[in-house]
Amino acid sequence: MKQENRHNTGGGAGNGTQNGSHAREAILEAVRRARLPAVPLPAIAGVRDACTGDPVSRFMVSAKVAAAAVQIVETGSVETAVRERFPEGASIATTSAAWSFDRMDARTDAHTMAQLDVLVCPGELGVAENGAVWLGESGMGPRAAPFLTQHLVLVLDRSAIVSDMHAAYDRLDVAREGYGVFVAGPSKTADIEQTLVIGAHGPRSLTVLLTQAARFKSVTI
C-alpha cells in the first residue's frame, strides 16, 4: 500500500517494512485506534427452521435437488445396495469395519487412490434444509479420499437428520476432529457458460444411503 489516501482518517497498520511480531502489534494497534462503538453479539433467534414436516423426506428432496441419489435401506443391506448401484468389477473401498469392502484408513496413501471407483463412508449427521451430510475425519480415511474417489457413498442413520444448519452446529463439535466437511452433492461446476457439469474435480456421483432398522421396513418410498 504505497498510496496513503488523503481522506485517511488516521488509522491503518503502517507500511510493509514491519514483520513478525511487529506486524502483529501494528495490526492490533491499528484496530484499537479505530475505536469502534460497542455492538452487542445477538442471540441466534427467530431464524430456526420451523418446518414441522418429516425431516427425512425433506432431506431426500433437498439432496435430490443437489443432484445426489438417496435411498432408504435396511441397516444390514448396505453392501447389497452399494453393489447394485455400481457395475460389477468396480473397485469399492470403505473406511468402516461395518461393511465387507476393502478397508482403508488414515494411513493409506491417498496418492495411490486416484483409480478408486467407489468409497463408502459413514456420515455423522444430515441436514434436511440442504441435503448436506457431515463427514468427520475419522470416517474418511485419508482426508483426500472422499474427493479423489470417482463415486462417493455416504451411509447415514435416518435418525441423525436435523432440520437446519443451526441445529447441525448445535449438535456438532466441529473442533473435535482436525478436519470435517459438509458434503451436499457430487462435485460440480458451472464455470463454462453457467452450464452445469457434474463431476468437476471430485466425485462424479454422491449416493446417500439412509439406514433404518428392519422394523421400519414398511416405510418405503
Binding site: 510493509g16 511480531s21 502483529r24 492490533l28 443437489a66 485419508p142
Partner: protein, 465 residues
C-alpha cells in the same frame, strides 16, 4: 490489473465498459445469464422462513466482531496455535507475498496449487510467485480458464463468466490439446479434470482462501462446489490459508447463520457442495494461516465506509447490478469487481479507482440483496463526494457540476436557465446539441422540450381560479 502492481493510471470505467459492450450479443448473454442467477437467489431465499431476520443477524454478528476485532484476532491466534496451526501476520500485500514466498522457499516447493482466493488476487500473489520461479496453478475451473488467458477473474463466484464456450474451446485446444472445435462444457470440464488431477497429485504446497475463521476454535472454513480446495490441501504436504482479518466470526454456531445465507445469495444453492472445516493439520502435514491487513484497519477507521468489511464475497450485488451486468467485471479494473469492488477499491487507492463509485445508477438493488446488509449504494454515493472533494474527477465534469450548482442556488437563475434551455433546445442545431462535449447524449435522446415549465403551468392554473 492487480492492485499490487500499483500502476497509477486511473481506471476509466466507461471506456472499458464501451469495449465490453462492443461485443453486442455477448453482452446481452452476460446480462441475461447473471439475471438468471439473481432469480434463482430470489427463489431460494424466498423459501427460507426468517430470511430477513437471518440477514439482520449476519450483519449484527459481523458488526459485533469488527467492534472487538483485536480481541477476536488474539483469541483466534491462541486457539489456532494450540491446534498446531502456524499463524502469520502481514500488514500489507507485499508482506503477505513475502511470507508465502518464504514458506515455500524454505520447504523447497516448486509446484503450487491454489483454490479461489480474492485476497491473493488483491495482493497479486500469482505474478509475485511466478516471477520467482514457482509453478502456480489455479484449480477452480473458472479461475484456471482466466489464468490460462492471462486475465484476472471478472466475477467473484463465476470468474470466467465473460468468456463464451467457443473461446474456451480454442484456449483448451491450445493449452490442453483438446480436439479443435470441441466446445461441449461437459467435455471441456472433463479435459481440465484430467489435467488438474495430475497436478493435485504432484503438488508440493496448496494455497487457499478462507470464507470464515472461527475465533473460539481457531478453525477455518473453506467453501467450494468443485472440491478443488480439498484436493489441493489434502494431497500437498503444506497448506497455506490466506485471509483478510475481517473474515473472523466468534463461534461455530455463527457459521450456521452465514452458511445459510452464502450459497443461496451467491448461486441460489441451499448450500455449496463442500463446506470444509480445518482445525488441525493432518499428521505429518503443516497448516499455515496468514492474517492480512492490507488497508483493512485503515478502512475500519472510516465510519462512513467500514460496513463494507462485513462482505462475505457472495457476488449477489454483481448479479443484480444493471451496470455490472452490462459492463462486465473487467470494466472495474479491480478485484473484486462490481458494486462491492466499487466501494472497496477506492478505499485502497482513490487516485486509481475514483471512477468506480460513478459506475452505478444508485438504484440500490445491491443493498437490497446483500446478505449482510451493507449499505452499498449509500457508500457509492459517499465515495463520489470524497472523489469530488479530493479533486479526482475530470475538469469537464467538475465545470458542469459547478455550473449546475451555481444555477440551482438561486430560484431566479434557475427559472431563467429553464426558459433559455427550452428555447435554445428548439432552435439549436442537432450537431451542436449532440456534439463531442455531450457524453450523455451519445446513447440517449433529449426529452421533448415542453412549452413551459411546471412552475409556469402551476402559476397559470392558480390565475384561473
Amino acid at each position: 490489473m492487480h492492485d499490487a502492481a500499483q500502476n497509477a493510471v486511473p481506471v476509466d470505467h466507461s471506456d472499458r465498459a464501451a469495449r465490453f459492450i462492443a461485443k453486442g450479443e455477448q453482452t446481452t448473454w452476460h446480462d441475461s445469464v447473471l439475471w438468471r442467477i439473481r432469480e434463482k437467489r430470489d427463489a431460494v431465499s424466498g423459501s427460507v422462513e426468517g430470511w430477513e431476520r437471518l440477514r439482520d443477524l449476519a450483519s449484527q454478528i459481523k458488526e459485533h466482531t469488527l467492534s472487538k476485532l483485536d480481541e477476536y484476532l488474539i483469541e483466534f491466534e491462541e486457539s489456532a496455535t494450540a491446534n498446531g496451526v502456524q499463524v502469520h501476520w502481514a500488514v500489507d500485500a507485499e508482506a503477505h507475498n513475502r511470507i508465502v514466498y518464504d514458506l515455500l522457499k524454505v520447504r523447497g516447493v516448486r509446484r503450487v496449487v491454489k483454490s479461489k482466493s480474492m485476497l491473493t488476487e488483491e495482493c497479486g500473489l500469482n505474478p509475485y510467485l511466478e516471477a520467482r520461479g514457482f509453478d502456480v496453478v489455479d484449480t477452480d475451473l473458472g479461475e484456471r480458464i482466466v489464468q490460462l488467458r492471462g486475465e484476472p477473474p471478472s466475477h467473484l463466484v463465476a470468474p470466467a463468466i465473460h468468456i463464451r464456450r467457443e473461446e474456451i474451446s480454442v484456449l483448451f485446444h491450445e493449452k490442453l490439446g483438446t480436439p479443435a472445435g470441441s466446445s461441449d462444457p461437459q467435455f471441456l470440464a472433463g479435459a481440465m479434470r484430467q489435467d488438474l488431477r495430475a497436478r493435485f497429485l504432484a503438488a508440493d504446497a496448496a494455497i487457499t482462501g478462507v470464507n470464515f475463521a472461527v475465533a473460539a476454535t481457531g478453525g477455518l472454513v473453506v467453501v467450494t462446489n468443485e472440491g478443488n480446495a480439498d484436493l489441493g490441501v489434502h494431497l500437498a504436504p503444506v497448506h497455506i490459508a490466506c485471509m483478510g482479518i475481517e473474515k473472523l466470526i466468534p463461534k461455530p454456531e455463527h457459521l450456521g447463520v452465514f452458511l445459510r445465507l452464502l450459497a443461496r445469495s451467491a448461486t441460489g444453492q441451499p448450500l455449496s457442495i463442500y463446506t470444509s472445516h480445518f482445525h488441525r493439520p493432518a499428521p505429518g502435514r503443516e497448516l499455515h494461516i496468514v492474517l492480512v491487513d492490507n488497508g483493512r484497519t485503515r478502512h475500519l477507521s472510516r465510519e462512513d465506509f467500514r460496513a463494507s468489511l462485513k462482505c462475505i464475497r457472495c457476488g449477489a450485488c454483481l448479479n443484480t447490478c444493471p451496470v455490472y451486468r452490462r459492463s462486465g467485471g473487467h470494466s472495474y479494473g479491480a478485484t473484486p469487481s462490481g458494486p462491492i469492488g466499487a466501494i472497496l477499491a477506492p478505499g485502497r487507492d482513490m487516485e486509481k479507482y475514483a471512477a468506480l463509485p460513478f459506475a452505478s445508477s444508485l438504484c440500490g438493488s445491491c443493498s437490497d440483496v446483500c446478505p449482510v446488509k451493507i449499505d452499498i449504494h449509500a457508500q457509492l454515493y459517499r465515495w463520489r463526494q470524497v472523489a469530488v472533494r479530493e479533486g479526482h474527477i475530470s475538469g469537464k465534469k467538475r465545470l458542469g457540476m459547478q455550473m449546475v450548482g451555481w444555477i440551482t442556488r438561486r430560484p431566479a437563475r434557475y427559472r431563467l436557465a429553464g426558459r433559455l434551455a427550452r428555447s435554445l433546445l428548439r432552435y439549436a442545431p442537432r450537431r451542436l446539441l449532440y456534439g463531442r462535449w455531450n457524453a450523455w447524449g451519445r446513447a440517449r435522446e433529449l426529452p421533448e422540450r415542453p412549452a413551459r415549465s411546471f412552475g409556469e403551468w402551476y402559476a397559470a392554473e392558480r390565475e384561473k381560479e
